[in-house]
Symmetry: C2
């Protein structure tokens, strides 16, 4: 059986195609009686509108493109799933577009997808959402977009973010509450807004609890296992070594475990370690890593809602913008001995 078209529905419902279209699009000016008839016919024929035809006529594609450049597979997948479920709910398709935020071809690659297919909107994840060229491109092409965890917020496009600074503040306070005073910190990649927020939360907590920040306890990592490893070595090879280290993500935290094992430093007895992101590795390692979990799925869900509102030129302020993170206490932290 060939797929039913709007004509078939009109025939069965004994109305015109236009009336069917009106009902389907929730337009006013249709008598309830006819609405009923149409709905019945739609159901009887198991009719679904052809998105291609809809798009062609309406100059829209019902495609939302998710742009990401991020080395964390667990994070990306969660993002995809959250965005996807909301897209499906609203009758949109999600197109994925992995890219490299360091590539000189970034702009070109995004431009090319805007040409080869049509998309109603973009979702930019960090750090792409702070890329001025990219934003300029989308603005120029007049393509709506929404951002996840932007650092710079001046654009009028919708965005969502997690309260990284607050979570980092809480996590640092937690370490202090365990009796730690010598708390090391490994920063993330400076291109990522989250890096600065996480560091700021750490700073603020120390200050707030009357501790002074020791520059020797702060090292610059790049979110990779390798940089985490070298930072950990630097931190732990000092005379007065920290009794706790806060890494800006779980990969770097995992690297601390490696260095500690090699140096025969016992975790958590001699050194507490915390990470960030709740990456799979934080559970697949021993001791499992105390970390921070962002509500990524929910954030992705909301950002899609906002984007679709923006696409439809409706207000989007009704939705949440800042999302709370959750501290997940595992086995890599213990009271300072």
């Amino acid at each position: 059986m060939a797929k039913a078209t709007i004509k078939d529905v009109a025939l069965v419902a004994e109305v015109s195609v236009k009336t069917v279209s009106r009902v389907l699009n929730d337009e006013p000016n249709v008598r309830p009686v006819l609405q009923e008839k149409v709905h019945a016919a739609v159901k009887a024929l198991d009719f679904k509108r052809n998105p291609l035809a809809r798009g062609l006529r309406g100059q829209q594609s019902f495609i939302i493109t998710l742009l990401y450049s991020n080395p964390n597979p667990g994070y990306i997948l969660e993002l995809q799933n959250g965005a996807l479920s909301q897209c499906i709910e609203q009758g949109y398709n999600l197109q994925i577009h992995p890219c490299d935020h360091n590539s000189p071809d970034l702009i070109k690659s995004v431009e090319s997808i805007t040409q080869y297919s049509t998309q109603d909107g973009f979702i930019l994840t960090h750090p792409l959402c702070d890329n001025k060229e990219l934003i300029a491109l989308l603005d120029e092409k007049n393509i709506p977009f929404a951002r996840i965890s932007p650092f710079v917020r001046e654009h009028d496009s919708p965005y969502v973010m997690s309260n990284d600074e607050e979570a980092s503040f809480e996590m640092t306070k937690y370490l202090i509450s365990l009796g730690h005073t010598k708390i090391g910190f490994i920063k993330g990649h400076p291109d990522f807004g989250a890096t600065h927020k996480r560091y700021k939360g750490y700073q603020r907590a120390l200050e707030n609890m009357g501790l002074t920040l020791d520059e020797d306890y702060v090292k610059q990592g790049m979110f990779t296992f390798e940089t985490g490893e070298s930072c950990a070595r630097q931190l732990l090879n000092q005379e007065s070594r920290p009794t706790a280290i806060f890494a800006s993500n779980d990969y770097m935290a995992a690297a601390i475990l490696k260095v500690a094992a090699q140096m025969k430093i016992n975790i958590p007895a001699d050194l507490s370690v915390v990470g960030y992101d709740d990456a799979p590795v934080s559970q697949q390692i021993w001791p499992s890593i105390t970390t921070v979990k962002q509500p990524i799925n929910q954030m992705a869900n909301t950002v899609v809602k906002k984007l679709i509102k923006r696409i439809k030129k409706q207000p989007f302020e009704e939705f949440d913008t800042v999302f709370d993170c959750e501290l997940i206490i595992r086995n890599s932290t213990s009271p300072c001995s």
Copy 2:
């Protein structure tokens, strides 16, 4: 400036729209002179065909849907990237559809996406590609599909696979070459075809090298960290414990490291551990885990090529079907002491 249409191109090239269409579709019967003209006009206008219109007219969508149900984010992302790059190259879009192979709604969920949008073909990853109901559904709807790592191969649809059995055979031989004779094995989830192939490679290597398989050294895991942990405990709590353990994936291998740490068993000095998949954790843990890497990206790439051939009803036998895996020797293995 509004996007150029085929009409604009025809106008500039001073030919009919049909001629433009012919050139664009590489159809015969156009004089080289006109081809030149059309190409020049296309370039001048930076013209790209509207995929919606193309799809509507041609009863195709240029959408390929990737179906997966797999708990390994690194694997999925790699798969997506491989499939995506090939899709883009051939002018297709990739739609992703994560699902749960255990869900009773699986079939319904796939059926619904075939209704809400049109797709030219599906890519089924394992274990979905061995789901009879699913295959029956696609066959009935006459939607072409291709499979990645199917266990049952009777269908005439194209597929690719890695030679898991061979890789597992080689890995086991490698352990034996290190002097190990008491080699434990943790099986994966029985729903996955790979589980059986990996086990078979292990069996065959033992046999081949003149060792007898000891049932006490084989435990049934489910690919999760937790099951790996309990299997490791069972294996290591025996009187005559194995000196090496082969886990069917890296999550379970990571769990062995945990158990070993708790039991003060030194890795790799007292126990060699190998995993499978080259999951991110295998590098983010210490000691890093010796493992097997499948050429996922390449497999995904090829399966898309095959699928598109199938969609176009062209032969697809020219492409590779079986892909070699690579042993990655890291720090979790050493000669038997």
